[in-house]
């Protein structure tokens, strides 16, 4: 009886390498989501740097449902808010600005007001440094 003696192949088989690679590519392509990873930052007051904001001294921006703005109890379009603030900021760069959104106001309106204030350096050449967004609990506790 004769046995065939095959030579042992000492190379790693790489023919399927590309297939495996493409499977991995497809996996990563499917699972990759180009998620929104940007946003507008809002620093919360820390214990050591939160002077009490005086209601009388500050500019109050109220946002009513539907996005109507009441700045110091007068209606004002969003585009004019920074112009209104400019002379006040020139006198006092630390002028506090308070954003108060009505509880039924859509969140998007509040964000656009905040965004507008953050654009102050480009639009009026000075920063609105002191923006506070009191929550309902804080208003109940400290204001009335």
């Amino acid at each position: 009886m004769k046995f065939k003696r095959g030579t042992v192949n000492d190379e790693i088989p790489t023919a399927s390498m590309a297939d495996i690679a493409f499977l991995l590519i497809i996996y990563f392509m499917v699972t990759t989501t180009f998620a929104a990873t940007r946003g507008i930052d809002f620093s919360l007051p820390q214990e050591d740097d939160s002077p009490l904001v005086d209601k009388e001294e500050s500019v109050l921006i109220e946002i009513q449902p539907g996005g109507v703005l009441m700045v110091d109890n007068k209606p004002l379009p969003l585009d004019n808010v920074l112009e209104y603030l400019k002379p006040k900021l020139e006198r006092n760069p630390m002028k506090p600005v308070i954003i108060r959104a009505n509880e039924m106001t859509e969140y998007g309106h509040m964000v656009s007001v905040f965004d507008e204030l953050r654009q102050a350096p480009e639009k009026i050449g000075m920063e609105v440094k002191n923006v506070s967004i009191p929550t309902q609990r804080e208003i109940n506790m400290f204001w009335y």
Binding site: I40, D41, L44, E103, M104
Partner: protein
């Protein structure tokens, strides 16, 4: 061929960031947008006011609005410098957001990022 394939694999592996929160929301649009640090804690609020939270590593879980405070306090206790990301739908009534911000303030969180999309000329014109 395999070389190119492996290059692509490496590209996708590097760019992938596993989204901790897959809640579908319509984000508000802003002009100012800063890069959010990786591993930030997420709080998402859907249009109907449902809240989901994630510490930044794990997939988000639904919580009651009252439990946001204990979640936030827990995150801050572990890392006082931790950033929070608020992923809220643009049409959610503000009272839900107010509650979450209040919880974060009470938990002594340092900074909140309000997740947003890029404001474009078209979208600004559409709103106005």
């Amino acid at each position: 061929m395999a070389d190119i394939a492996f290059l692509l694999i490496i590209f996708f592996m590097v760019t992938i960031n596993f989204e901790v929160d897959k809640t579908q929301v319509f984000l508000p649009k802003t002009t100012v947008r800063l890069e959010i640090p990786k591993k930030a804690a997420y709080i998402s609020i859907t249009e109907s006011g449902q809240i989901r939270v994630s510490g930044g590593e794990e997939i988000s879980v639904p919580v009651h609005p009252e439990d946001v405070l204990s979640f936030a306090a827990d995150v801050v206790a572990r890392d006082p410098q931790k950033e929070f990301v608020l992923k809220a739908d643009q049409s959610v009534p503000y009272r839900y957001v107010d509650g979450v911000i209040d919880s974060l303030k009470q938990a002594k969180a340092r900074v909140i990022y309000l997740l947003s999309e890029q404001e474009t000329v078209d979208s600004a014109a559409g709103e106005g």
